[in-house]
């Protein structure tokens, strides 16, 4: 059965749920298509669902757990009448009005939603290494979720690939379990923030493998090691690890909008005048359109902006100034 809505929000991280709180309070009865369970960050609640303590979200003096924060966002929007649909958008047609959105069978003639306006808050997911054997070894030593799997690497030697804040955070978290954590980074300096760098350097269990990229994974039924190639000398070295965690950056979850919404070369949606996209009535917020700040608080802020932009846009459409 097709539902007709004033506002459909696609994505349920801090951006989407903040947009839900604001549009619900404005009596626009939003539906949030929140995604599907997965062990990657492309899931209901978004990237914060795979984190532990959030120390820099304003208002929480002692910090708060990522999943708990998202659960609070969700309940807060629900309190004002937001609805949730646990599914992924399989197809969207922004070429006519109202916009058409499919969540199940994308070949069906009948869309699941007709929407006057759409807020895109689909976020970003972690990049993988794109190596042969990678898919086969996920769950067998290669992990996409440090908080889920760190526990299984007690007293083992493991590695984290990446040089940014999320790599440092994962490495520090993993030292609670592992015997040693080697950070493999393609340059010889980190791009992580000063505070995270200081914490990583001060941690006696953390080692660094500089100027190195992982070029091969080894192990039959379980990861046994990796080959790293030196980015300066091209020399290959085999290193033995029981676990490998990948934190090398992000890619926006915008595939379903390709060819319809204007994007930059990396797939991030281009916004102008606040959260407007190239299609009138479609707004974008959060990491789907931001590769610069990428914080929970900036995503939430842009979600609020999208909600206000939608509200004004709908108001102007329903009551055009004469």
């Amino acid at each position: 059965m097709t539902q007709h809505r004033e506002v459909v929000i696609v994505g349920s991280g801090p951006a989407g749920l903040t947009a839900a709180i604001y549009t619900a309070r404005a009596n626009l009865s939003p539906v949030v298509i929140e995604g599907e369970p997965s062990s990657t960050s492309d899931q209901p609640g978004g990237q914060l669902m795979l984190t532990t303590e959030i120390e820099n979200f304003p208002g929480f003096i002692d910090g708060i757990m990522g999943p708990e924060l998202m659960s609070n966002f969700r309940s807060q929007a629900e309190r004002f009448g937001a609805n949730y649909h646990t599914a992924k958008v399989t197809k969207i047609d922004l070429s006519g009005r109202p916009f058409k959105i499919w969540t199940s069978d994308s070949k069906s003639d009948e869309p699941d939603y007709l929407a006057e306006s759409v807020i895109v808050s689909t976020g970003a997911r972690s990049l993988m290494l794109d190596l042969e054997d990678e898919v086969r070894l996920i769950g067998h030593g290669l992990s996409t979720c440090a908080t889920c799997d760190g526990f299984f690497f007690r007293d083992l030697d493991i590695a984290v690939v990446g040089g940014g804040d999320s790599a440092m955070e994962e490495a520090i978290f993993l030292t609670k379990f592992a015997k040693s954590v080697t950070i493999i980074h393609r340059r010889k300096e980190l791009r992580a923030s000063k505070i995270m760098q200081d914490r990583a350097f001060a941690n006696s269990k953390i080692r660094f493998q500089w100027n190195s990229v992982v070029t091969e994974l080894h192990g039959e039924s379980q990861l046994e090691g990796v080959t790293v190639t030196d980015t300066v000398t091209n020399q290959e070295t085999r290193l033995d690890f029981s676990g490998l965690f990948v934190a090398i950056g992000h890619v926006p979850n915008t595939d379903v909008f390709v060819g319809q919404l204007e994007m930059d070369q990396n797939g991030y949606i281009v916004t102008r005048d606040g959260t407007h996209t190239n299609i009138d009535g479609v707004f974008a917020c959060g990491d789907a359109q931001d590769h610069v700040y990428r914080q929970a608080i900036t995503a939430a802020g842009s979600g609020c902006m999208a909600a206000i932009d939608v509200e004004r846009w709908l108001e102007a459409k329903h009551h055009p100034a004469s």
Binding site: P37, S38, S39, M49, I138, G139, C148, F151, F153, Q222
Partner: protein, 108 residues
């Protein structure tokens, strides 16, 4: 509704051997976000497939030996046992429809 049993290191082997229905074991822990997300889905499957499948949970915090024995290194992991033998393994949280797509062929 079919009850979801709690397994531990002591009753695990007997439970998988003695189960008359295919037994799906959910390896989970309190601190695992994706595990919490699939818990309600498993309850739904347990009642919708009543008589075809038995579902049980194993907390890896308290039953690490069983998890190690079946080489569980990532949670949630679901292992389907039939006649005491593991016949299917699903790693990572999935939607209900994709879980059923993987499980249904093994349920008669």
């Amino acid at each position: 509704m079919a009850k979801i049993a709690e397994l531990n290191d002591f009753n695990f082997e007997n439970s998988i051997k003695e189960s008359e229905l295919p037994l799906l074991v959910d390896f989970w822990a309190e601190w695992c976000g994706p595990c919490k997300m699939i818990a309600p889905i498993l309850e739904e499957i347990s009642s919708e497939r009543e008589g075809k499948i038995q579902i049980a949970k194993l907390n890896v915090d308290t039953a690490l030996a069983a998890a190690r024995r079946y080489e569980v290194m990532s949670i949630p992991t679901l292992i389907l046992f039939k006649d005491g033998k593991p016949i299917r393994r699903i790693v990572g949280a999935k939607s209900k429809s994709s879980l059923l797509r993987e499980l249904d062929p093994d349920l008669s």
